[in-house]
Symmetry: C2
Subunit: 473 residues, 2 copies
């Protein structure tokens, strides 16, 4: 098959959708064809019409599978020229694909709640702390504290204990495809701390800082606090519209794994374009990877930082979302040139992380408890997401549901976001309108739906309420 | 005895110096006379000459006792008009005087060092983390974690867990004479975090921020980082020269308990003058109380904040000096008007303290382990200070040795600080010249001596080295 010519539907093996559902089956068959080079880089995919006939599935099913391949960076869709396999596909730069978790609905992943369950439906970015095993954590801290001498209690490592930085680097190598060393890691109290340090170190009044629009509001506010001129860059289906980046800027802040809040994955071609821009503009790229551990349908793309040959990406991660919000430990992986200036700001402002938590985390990561917890919470969150999507019954459009701690629910045309949120609040639902995340973007009405902190029973109950609200909207 | 007339030496009971030494005896007799109103407020003390004859002690001994009463705020000394009892004496506003610890030299307070003892003589502001009982700490954390439900792991309390804030308020009431409630407490990562929050919340470019000269350099740098115009105010024997404060300023930063680095206590009259100024200038007073737990010769003065009727003082304390430096937990007590703006900055910048340490501290404070640890470390530090002063043999002038984690050693006239520090470094001593703390102040040459992190054996060894250096200086 020559490059550029559409593959014949006859060449592709028929998907096995017996166990997985038609859409999943179509997706897997196409992805397998891309991975095995049956559909090589640059080649055009068959039309949905021809595949629909051949595979005996609806065009809608195929459309959804194509969309997913697109959002994950396997294919590009250009109006009028069909769908083509991307030049660089995810597997070419992913280091260690996670095993594909089968959807699970076992009730035991939702442990009975002790104490008051104070989670409000459907606030976003809220992990479920009750999935975190406090006994294991207490044991890790005791072991960590008693294994060290009093020397470890001194604050001689403002960047974090070397052993913890080594563990974090190892995790990022094996799970996020990054080639990083302990020396590049700086332990922070979380994403905001990292953004604040970056802003105070790199931005001087008048500097241009680019953010996604819609995007994470605290990033805008922290850059503005440092005196920067914040420039909002539109987000399309492939993520940040890199073509809109200005010729000169000091930095661009992105959420490549699961755009906050729209939820798409930054495509591979946009990733490469972003790094090109940073190099040309002599700018820094700030990668916020806060919920990358939660990919429900496929292996996650490796971090943007893993493509960063020019050492322009400042990577920011956090344990506050995947362990528990009250932990207050995160990390950055920083370009060599920025390590010293960032450390100067960190030391002057004195916000280093306590050694007690650091010693506990060394044990928690080193013993494998961390990866086990990630797996268990990923399964629990997937079941919750599936339950909520089932409640919605496919009658309303959602997006960004393939990963992360939230998805976007598009409201029926003409519904005002604020009115809808007010009516939702009256029946106990705390929703955030998409508009709260927008600077200049004018998007159809939508709300952000967080489901990860709720039990299946809560999701079913409040999901019904949400559905009723949508029906009368 | 009428106000203003010198008390006759005959009226005062002769000191009992059998067990305490002559200077301590003279000090205690005079202090008792003040406390019992035998020497009422405003009255003049007998001259050192008349007392020396009556009590059969040298005038030098009495001079030292007078100086100490002066530094502790009992008396004022005015050239040409003698020494008078202050209008407000410490006991009138101290809530709970600590029991006067008898000097102790038991070896067991210096526990054998496990692991590498990495402390460098004589770096200042370094507590001895080996005095901290890791087993107790690990037990407190386990208890704290297992006593709570997962709800406590949420970050719903950016100001700190209510129970910890209540414990801190209780400690400050009983030990620092402050009348504060849990709602006024904000948990921080330490003094620098507090100063950074204050600077970012209160200072806008061009605002005047007053600091002590000499003073704590990070305070100057953090205020300057926020764009403030930093104004250095001279320090005299009574502490900050309040008369030099400008008519308009946004805030003044002070270290009333043990001036950093000179070590005197801010006198009661200066405290009142400072609060008057803050009220007139509509300014805030930032009280850094970081080493107030270490008073070796007398009960400490209550915190400046305890006198703060006008709610103008932002009080900053820390557990990083009295527990261990790697802990990273401190606290502020803030005026009602500042709570919301400070919390807004704290929440945006995301530097709140992790709940693990907070839960451990609730147990540690609540069980009495904290006060026991303070007592034990105070005794250990006092023995170390006494040993070092003994090494110096009274041949060189020191000041600020009555409290805190360091004292000032005045160099022989004509010795250049930097040369002396260079020579000290060559024989393994890391000294800081007083000049590093000065902005405009021109003071005689001196170095800052920290002794708290060293064992008695290390102090004896390095103390001899220091003495030899001084002898050849």
């Amino acid at each position: 098959m020559s490059r550029g010519k559409a593959a014949s539907a006859l060449d592709l093996p028929r998907p096995d959708s017996l166990h997985t559902g038609k859409q999943q089956g179509a997706y897997e068959a196409l992805r397998a064809a891309i991975l095995t080079r049956q559909l090589p880089a640059g080649s055009r995919l068959p039309s949905t019409r021809s595949l629909a006939e051949r595979w005996q599935v609806s065009r809608g099913t195929l459309e959804a599978a194509f969309e997913r391949l697109h959002s994950e960076g396997y294919v590009q869709r250009v109006a009028g020229s069909g769908t083509r396999v991307c030049a660089v596909i995810p597997e070419q730069f992913i280091a260690a694909a996670l095993p594909h978790p089968k959807p699970r609905r076992e009730v035991q992943v939702d442990r009975p709640q002790t104490g008051v369950q104070s989670h409000v439906p459907f606030v976003a970015r809220r992990p479920d702390a009750s999935l975190f095993d406090l006994k294991t954590w207490a044991r890790c801290i005791s072991r960590g504290l008693l294994a060290v001498g009093p020397g470890a209690l001194e604050a001689a490592h403002p960047a974090g204990l070397p052993e913890l930085r080594a563990q974090i680097a190892e995790y990022l190598r094996s799970h996020r495809g990054m080639h990083c060393e302990a020396d590049e890691v700086i332990v922070t109290t979380g994403i905001r701390h990292a953004l604040d340090l970056i802003a105070r170190t790199l931005l001087t009044p008048g500097d241009i800082a680019c953010v996604e629009d819609p995007g994470y509001p605290p990033a805008r506010r922290l850059f503005a606090l440092a005196g920067a001129q914040v420039q909002a860059i539109a987000v399309t289906a492939e993520g940040l519209e890199t073509a809109q980046l200005p010729e000169r800027a000091r930095l661009a802040y992105v959420t490549p794994a699961h755009q906050a809040p729209l939820g798409m994955t930054l495509s591979v071609s946009r990733r490469l374009a972003l790094l090109d821009w940073a190099s040309r503009a002599d700018a820094w790229v700030v990668e916020d990877d806060y919920d990358s551990e939660y990919n429900y349908n496929s292996a996650p793309l490796a971090a943007l930082k893993s493509l960063d040959g020019g050492d322009r990406v400042i990577y920011c991660g956090s344990f506050n979302k995947n362990l528990f919000p009250g932990l207050r430990v995160g990390f950055m992986v920083v370009p060599t040139a920025l390590r010293r200036p960032l450390m100067r700001t960190l030391q002057l402002t004195g916000h280093s992380v306590g050694v007690t938590d650091q010693l506990g985390l060394i044990e928690f990561l080193g013993s494998g408890a961390f990866v086990r917890h990630l797996r268990a919470s990923r399964q629990a969150y997937q079941a919750r997401r599936d339950t909520l999507l089932e409640c919605l019954g496919g009658r309303w459009a959602v997006s960004g549901q393939q990963a992360g701690l939230h998805f976007v629910l598009w409201l029926p045309a003409g519904v005002a976001e604020e009115d809808f949120c007010t009516r939702a609040a009256a029946v106990g639902l705390t929703l955030q309108g998409l508009g709260k995340f927008c600077v200049n973007a004018r998007l159809p009405p939508a709300v952000i739906i967080g489901y990860t902190a709720l039990t299946l029973a809560q999701i079913r109950f409040h999901g019904r309420v949400l559905t009723q609200l949508l029906m009368v909207a």
